[in-house]
């Protein structure tokens, strides 16, 4: 193992500890939910791995939302997640996710959490609020830049959201044109996704064409995805069925619907939740270009 990777595993442990301290100090309860479940939230572009009669979870979100339905107000979890066929410079099919959920909150509360969490983690493990990542300097002590998806497409994508959706190039423009052009001096919040790109998010009051969803970026790395949670079971079922219809068009098998989750969802209070990739956070703090440099074993080493 290279000395870079060895040092990064130590850094990783310190980051995990800093994350736990952050949430515990704010009154969040650390929870653990099953990793092997009968059904995930069906997604057009996420392939769950099979495990016995069910699946490995692709995110702990469904069980965590069911805990909200049972009266838990602020919870967090750090756990392994699995997504088949995802392997690249920034992807491993098994990775570590941090998720947190808070009742009586919306996505703007999560953005505030993100800013405070990043600032505290960077301060704890790097001893200051400036971080150098892949040649750029990022400041974590001076807020974040907020850009709407609409503005990002017009400024950096050279097109409109509507045109990109019509041509099926939304994700391609996002990855090839927008992400590399995002400001690098501070973390960036890319917010208000088109409604069809926010399957589990509440629609924005006053503008039903967008969902209250945002992505957090730092140094060009996609770190987290959060939203004001949809808590209408009928609307949620419709969106799951649309995801399966999209899978059918792409020649992919339909996925089972998480019925107990849909049954509980009607009891969920207004809430917001977010998933943050711990491996990406470690990459950022370690100035690592590849996920392979921050994990103990790559899939190829097993």
């Amino acid at each position: 193992m290279s000395s870079f990777r060895r040092a990064n595993l130590h850094l990783r442990a310190r980051i995990m500890q800093a994350v736990r301290e952050f949430f515990v100090a704010r009154g969040f309860l650390e929870v653990e939910t099953p990793h092997r479940i009968p059904a995930n939230a069906p997604e057009e572009h996420i392939e769950p791995g099979r495990a016995g009669a069910g699946y490995l979870h692709t995110s702990p979100e469904l069980c965590m939302k069911r805990l909200l339905c049972r009266g838990y107000g602020k919870i967090f979890q750090i756990c392994r997640c699995w997504r088949d066929n995802e392997r690249g410079r920034r992807h491993a099919p098994e990775f570590t996710m941090l998720e947190w959920y808070r009742c009586d909150s919306d996505y703007s509360d999560l953005m505030k959490d993100c800013q405070e969490l990043l600032e505290q983690v960077v301060r704890t493990v790097c001893g200051g609020t400036m971080l150098s990542y892949q040649g750029g300097e990022i400041g974590f002590g001076d807020g974040m830049r907020r850009i709407s998806v609409r503005e990002a497409f017009e400024r950096f994508g050279g097109t409109t959201i509507e045109a990109a959706l019509r041509n099926g190039t939304f994700d391609e423009i996002m990855v090839t044109a927008i992400e590399p052009a995002l400001p690098q001096d501070k973390p960036v919040i890319l917010m208000d996704y088109p409604a069809q790109m926010a399957a589990l998010a509440r629609l924005k009051p006053g503008d039903p064409t967008v969902g209250e969803r945002f992505e957090l970026y730092a140094g060009g790395l996609e770190l987290a995805n959060g939203f004001s949670e949809l808590n209408d079971p009928h609307e949620q079922r419709t969106r799951f069925l649309e995801a399966n219809a999209g899978r059918a068009r792409a020649g992919l098998p339909a996925l089972p619907l998480p019925e107990p989750f849909l049954a509980d969802l009607g009891y969920m209070p207004p809430a917001a939740g977010i998933a943050l990739g711990i491996d990406r956070l470690v990459m950022l703090c370690a100035d690592a270009e590849r996920i392979d440099d921050v994990i103990a074993f790559t899939p190829e080493e097993l």
Partner: protein, 187 residues
């Protein structure tokens, strides 16, 4: 048939009828979005570099490449002819596809010819070949200039640096991988 999941550096595939070698590959995917497979490929016939992005579900034809040992027969204009000694089948290769190999080819040399279908697109030489020096300056005894090499031309027309003691008419061994002088053949 390959799928996007097979894409990686070093994969050889057929595109628009030509064989391509994947020389760079990156998987990207927005968390909730579509996976993109970004590749850089080199055309194995003309060397053109191509950037292509693929999505889940796309498929490719493998490049049907075969390497066969053949004997170099002769050159005519810019065409080099090789023969399979088992089947007596002959193939012709364009000089452009030969690369540096043409510097080391002598008649009857046994080489590995890379075939794409019927077409010869590359040649792999033995690591070492012996070639005769046809022109080089004599070693000036007492030369104290400190030069430890001098230019020499071998029978294929190739020019390389050799130690000062090599004389015209001598046989030398050349490393074909870097084109450099390796040793003098005694006798």
């Amino acid at each position: 048939m390959y799928t996007v999941a097979d894409l990686k550096k070093g994969l050889k595939l057929t595109l628009d009828g030509d064989p391509y070698l994947v020389i760079a590959f990156d998987f990207t995917k927005p968390g909730k979005g579509q996976a993109l497979y970004r590749t850089k490929m080199r055309n194995m016939i003309n060397g053109t570099i191509l950037d292509r992005t693929y999505r889940s579900g796309e498929t490719f034809e493998p490049a049907s490449l075969e390497e066969r040992q053949m004997e170099y027969l002769y050159k005519e204009g810019t065409h080099y002819t090789f023969m399979d000694q088992q089947t007596y089948e002959q193939v012709v290769m364009e000089e452009a596809a030969m690369g540096d190999a043409k510097n080391f080819l002598l008649e009857n040399l046994k080489v590995d010819v890379l075939l794409f279908g019927e077409k010869a697109i590359g040649v792999t030489l033995p690591n070492f070949v012996n070639l005769r020096v046809i022109q080089t300056e004599p070693w000036a005894k007492g030369d104290t200039s400190g030069n430890d090499s001098k230019p020499a031309t071998v029978e294929t027309g190739y020019v390389l640096r050799v130690p000062p003691f090599i004389e015209e008419g001598e046989l030398i061994t050349i490393d074909t991988r870097n084109g450099e002088y390796y040793t003098r053949v005694k006798g």
